[in-house]
């Protein structure tokens, strides 16, 4: 396979279905998922709550295995979780007994330190590992809080440490599960802008779960809209061709932006109007 096709199909999801076994019998969460993500592409997964967005992300992360179908990353089957597909968790999931620095260092050490010999990369010494950790914290603007524990910093800062931990591992893919969902609107906007900057600098491939229409349009190249669960599948894929760098204030007046926004809202609230299921 040529590099070009590999780049266009960096992540490949083919006919994936996920069924959970519950006490009430099998629960089909996802069916017929076919999706490709190009290298350096920013993809947002959007849909109503309970539609299986996070399930799909967990499948790409390798945290769960699909019932049917295949997932490939860089032409290799995803067989389990690993640092090349770093996850930024919804609730930051920092270890409360470690400082911010130590939380980030934990991942850096694993990927670039002595323990990484199996991956074939030359292992780096402690000073290099610490420099990497410092650089990642600087990238998210948290150098001053490096020696604080997660309990001592705000929710937005915790989420930034989570992003730093993921980015510091130089993953092939950055997976984000509603990373800003628990934050207030102002903090969220600030972090979205920072994320735009970071992604532009690192040229990362990103798959992000969100339920925020503006977030999806502002950040992504491609918005993947999921139908309502159970047995959710991809309803529509919207390519967002807004020029980068994107600025929130300018976009608010752009007709294109409003067009994209309307397309997503139409899908979510007209065609997939959410019906609360009692089951």
């Amino acid at each position: 396979m040529s590099t070009e096709t590999l780049n266009a199909k960096f992540i490949e999801i083919e006919g994936v279905a996920q069924t959970f076994k519950t006490k009430k019998g099998n629960f089909p969460a996802l069916r017929d998922i076919n999706l490709t993500v190009a290298k350096g592409e920013f993809v947002a997964l959007i849909g109503h709550s309970g539609c299986g967005k996070s399930t799909l992300l967990n499948l790409i992360a390798g945290l769960t295995m699909p019932t049917e179908g295949h997932l490939l990353c860089a032409n290799r089957e995803i067989a389990g979780p690993g640092p090349e597909r770093a996850v930024v968790f919804q609730n930051h999931s920092l270890l409360p007994w470690l400082t911010c620095f130590e939380n980030v260092y934990l991942g850096v050490e694993r990927v670039f330190g002595a323990a990484s010999k199996s991956t074939g990369a030359a292992s780096e010494n402690k000073a290099q590992l610490m420099a990497r950790t410092d650089a990642a914290l600087a990238l998210v603007g948290l150098t001053a809080a490096a020696q604080k524990r997660p309990g001592e910093i705000s929710g937005g800062m915790k989420q930034r440490v989570g992003i730093a931990r993921a980015i510091a591992m130089e993953p092939k893919v950055l997976l984000m599960d509603e990373p800003f969902g628990a934050l207030d609107a102002l903090t969220r906007a600030k972090l979205q802008d920072e994320l735009l900057d970071i992604v532009a600098r690192t040229q990362s491939t990103v798959v992000m779960v969100t339920h925020d229409v503006d977030e999806a349009v502002l950040l992504s190249d491609k918005i993947v809209m999921l139908t309502n669960g159970p047995a959710a599948t991809i309803g529509e894929v919207l390519h967002v061709d807004l020029p980068r760098p994107r600025r929130r204030v300018e976009l608010a007046e752009s007709a294109d932006y409003q067009q994209y926004r309307k397309a997503v809202i139409d899908f979510l609230y007209t065609r997939q109007a959410h019906v609360e299921k009692t089951a």
Binding site: R85, V87, F89, N91, S93, L95, P96, L106, R110, G151
Partner: protein, 307 residues
């Protein structure tokens, strides 16, 4: 820096040093300890007498109530329960020489308490050595949990003293039998709490471990152990409490030296004052053990673990 503060005669210099030494708490303490510094005088404008009264009054009233009831019981039993004042006099007498030795059955209260504490420490320490690792294994592996849960459920409700004859039979001595009893009573809370702690390690943390691809050693030291620690310490605290309850009863039965034996001995001597003193001693030692363990536990509990 510290010496500079000590030798500074002018209060303004001391204040400016104090202001810039937020990052150096040692030096800050030195400033407060310096009598010439005016900064510490201004620090407490008007002592909060009202607050102190509200904090101290309820417990003092509680103690007074106890003494009152005690006096009434003493009067009602026509002195066979000694009055608080007589008991206090006796206590002063006893605590003025807690470490005397006049033969194996007549030793100071200090020796008795130490002997009991030593038994508790030994039995409890052995229980921790066995119980905590077992708890980890039972918590980590579903199979083990299902294998041992029926056994634990069966043995846990048994009064520890029921195990004393078995101990006497197997170890052929009162001292090891008492330690055995402590062991068996303090092992269950430690096993159960550690196992529950391991089962309750948040799935998020385990997902982090999987994504970072951490080694088993790192998982244990960086994730499992710190998140189980608060549960484990709760188990330890419950275990120490039970052990201290049980040692008194066990020593009554086995004899020798120890606070429980002392109570029984004084009963045989019909020295009721000493029995009451022993009750206070047992209570206070138990309180101190509990307090120390709560302090340790809170030092190792992090915000996110509590919620």
């Amino acid at each position: 820096m510290v010496s500079a503060v000590f030798h500074s005669p002018s209060a303004t210099a001391a204040e400016s040093v104090a202001a810039m030494q937020v990052a150096a708490p040692v030096a800050l303490k030195a400033v407060q300890a310096t009598p010439t510094s005016s900064a510490c005088v201004d620090a407490q404008p008007g002592f909060d007498w009202n607050g102190l009264l509200l904090t101290v009054m309820p417990p003092v009233l509680g103690l007074l109530l106890l003494v009152l009831i005690w006096s009434m019981v003493s009067m009602a039993t026509a002195g066979s329960i000694p009055t608080p004042i007589d008991t206090a006099k006796q206590a002063i007498d006893i605590f003025s020489d807690p470490f005397y030795r006049k033969g194996p059955n007549d030793q100071g209260v200090g020796w008795n308490v130490l002997a009991s504490l030593q038994r508790v420490a030994l039995g409890f320490g052995l229980a921790a050595l066995v119980g905590i690792p077992s708890g980890f294994v039972i918590g980590r592996f579903e199979f083990m949990s299902r294998m041992f849960n029926p056994l634990i459920s069966l043995m846990r409700p048994v009064s520890p003293l029921a195990w004393l004859p078995i101990g006497l039979l197997v170890f052929k001595g009162a001292h090891p039998a008492a330690i055995w009893t402590i062991f068996i009573c303090s092992i269950w809370p430690m096993i159960i709490n550690t196992a529950v702690g391991v089962q309750r390690v948040p799935q998020d943390y385990m997902n982090v471990a999987r994504v970072l691809n951490l080694s088993e050693w790192k998982i244990v030291t960086k994730i499992l152990f710190p998140s189980v620690l608060p549960y484990m310490l709760t188990g330890v605290r419950l275990a120490v409490g039970t052990a201290w309850l049980v040692i008194v009863a066990a020593e009554m039965l086995t004899g020798g030296v120890g606070i429980g034996f002392w109570v029984w001995d004084e009963w045989n001597n019909l020295n009721v004052k000493n029995i009451i003193i022993a009750i206070f001693v047992i209570g206070i030692v138990g309180l101190m053990l509990e307090y120390a363990l709560i302090k340790i536990a809170s030092a190792f509990t992090y915000e996110e673990v509590k919620s």
